[in-house]
Symmetry: C2
Subunit: 329 residues, 2 copies
């Protein structure tokens, strides 16, 4: 299960098996790939969704499948223009369940301004899938003037986080009803494209790197960045927005909110001289008021993420190890 959790084991699987066998020179792994068709550059990304339960407060698998793919494109600096989807359905799945998810996809796509242009459906025997799995692939147009890569990140850059973390992961956990816990919490699932577009307009040349911290959370995304760029990232714990419900559930469960999955947040590393412009631009967009500067890039300790606690101490935080929360997306 850990190999699917988006943390260390996932990265090992990708770096140890997929990348060497599927070719391609070693390179920083990004949310979307850049390719050229007839000389026109575009971004492409794909994801499968196996979230359990299918519906949860704030969202559902179909909605997640659209927003997750749009978000991977957005943080790669691309505007999603077309999506395709595949469904693996378990025999006997009520049509109403499928219809609800197709409607959720349609609504999310309309809201995000993307067209769903094709798809495929397979049915497997009862017991051979868990109701339904969805895969979506998106292609996007590069935003003019936006070039993000770990190699562009420099000491002194600021780390922006778009909003409170952990809502999605803890919502899913509670929605399963396996824990004797209740909280008034909803998944943060949303399309972050409007936020990224505002950031790009205001601070385009200063945006060095972006990522949506889904599986493995903020800690895993930032650790991936430090490994790719060889620098250090210092996070100020008290600046990181975490709702009380998420903090409470994490304390009870022995989890760190920095490792919990998000579905509607993104991280951006921006040049210091663009940080204010970026924050002002985000504040003007719906859903952007909770963005915070949560850290900065430093030279040392190389390839590590350091969290400065509210009491002035500091601790290293690693990528997610193991899988405390399987099938979160």
């Amino acid at each position: 299960m850990a190999h699917g959790a988006g943390g260390k084991a996932s990265r090992k699987l990708v770096e140890g098996l997929f990348v060497p066998l599927l070719g391609g020179e070693p390179r920083a792994l990004a949310d979307a790939a850049q390719v050229a068709i007839s000389g026109t550059p575009l971004a492409i990304t794909t994801d499968s969704f196996v979230v359990k339960p299918l519906r949860f407060p704030g969202g559902s698998i179909g909605e997640l499948a659209v927003n997750g793919t749009m978000n991977d494109l957005a943080v790669s600096g691309a505007t999603g223009k077309a999506l395709v989807a595949t469904f693996v359905l378990e025999e006997g799945l009520p049509t109403a369940v499928l219809e609800a998810e197709v409607r959720a996809m349609a609504a999310a796509a309309q809201k995000a301004g993307v067209a769903i242009v094709g798809g495929d459906t397979k049915v497997v025997e009862h017991g051979k899938a868990d109701k339904m799995y969805v895969s979506t692939t998106g292609i996007g147009e590069p935003m003019p003037g936006i070039r993000v890569s770990a190699a562009s990140v420099h000491p002194g850059d600021k780390v922006i986080l778009s909003g409170p973390i952990g809502d999605h992961g803890i919502t899913i956990l509670l929605a399963r009803g396996e824990l004797d816990l209740e909280a008034d919490l909803r998944s943060d699932t949303r399309c972050v494209l409007p936020l990224v577009q505002a950031l790009a307009r205001a601070a385009g040349p200063g945006i060095h790197w972006m990522r949506d911290p889904t599986r493995g959370g903020v800690a895993t995304s930032l650790n991936e960045l430090t490994r790719d760029c060889g620098l250090s990232i210092s996070i100020f714990e008290e600046q990181i927005p975490v709702r009380d419900e998420v903090r409470g559930a994490c304390e009870l469960l022995g989890l760190d909110p920095l490792h919990i999955a998000n579905e509607g947040q993104f991280l951006a590393v921006v040049a210091p001289e663009y940080a204010d412009l970026a924050m002002n631009a985000l504040a003007l967009v719906e859903g952007g008021l909770e963005a915070r500067i949560v850290g900065e890039v430093r030279e040392q300790p190389a390839s590590a993420v350091l969290v400065t606690t509210r009491y002035g101490g500091s601790r290293m935080i690693d990528m997610l190890v193991g899988d405390p929360l399987p099938r979160i997306c």
Copy 2:
């Protein structure tokens, strides 16, 4: 299960649920969608693969996932340039099984001349998937001068079939070992792009329509065409290449080879004045010698496929109904 079989129920699902909800004007359903990114036209297609068993004589799920997607692009008149893949893996799947499929994908992609540029992996609990499911999405460059659509098909056009039918479906059926049958048969899985390219070079302006007859077989593909164009297609049964092993298995099982899935064949409808050029071009490409002109387009009976038997009689053949062969791809 019938909803996943590629026949009547599948079409009903797509036309009754996906198309109305996901928007888009009513249109002929094609193997790939045409979209424009930054003004550049491209083709995109997606498919999930749930074939059982994972490996079978002549191929495997990974290889099928690459070729199937390349073929959908090819018959849409596009050259596949980039693929992405997602994997849903069952907890406990031996790494060697996954590695074998990733190697199969790499080999198929290399042979087909396409790059695998990205992917995603999810793991679900033991029993919640059947070893592994793969989804692939391909984007392709339109072949210059090729425009295929049901609306371009005219009475008098010739129907070309690229080779023997039913090899894939019957191979899978036998590989499951549930029947007390054995035959020296291999799946026909291959990338048809070189054949389609040769056809395009030789007879480009005369190619009116193409399709790869996978789930539901030749009969389903041609019925879809007649419904989309309102014309009739006459097939000459004795011209349709069917291996003895396939014919024998079909007779024993009460199946029609025209309903059996193929993974390395395509149908092309070409203007009569281009038919000889097309056949000559195919004969010069590896694997193209078994192509045959198997029928022609007529005015009547509207929206129907008629099979002329070797004894001069004729019968209507409909789309696949039900699912005699689940999980064939």
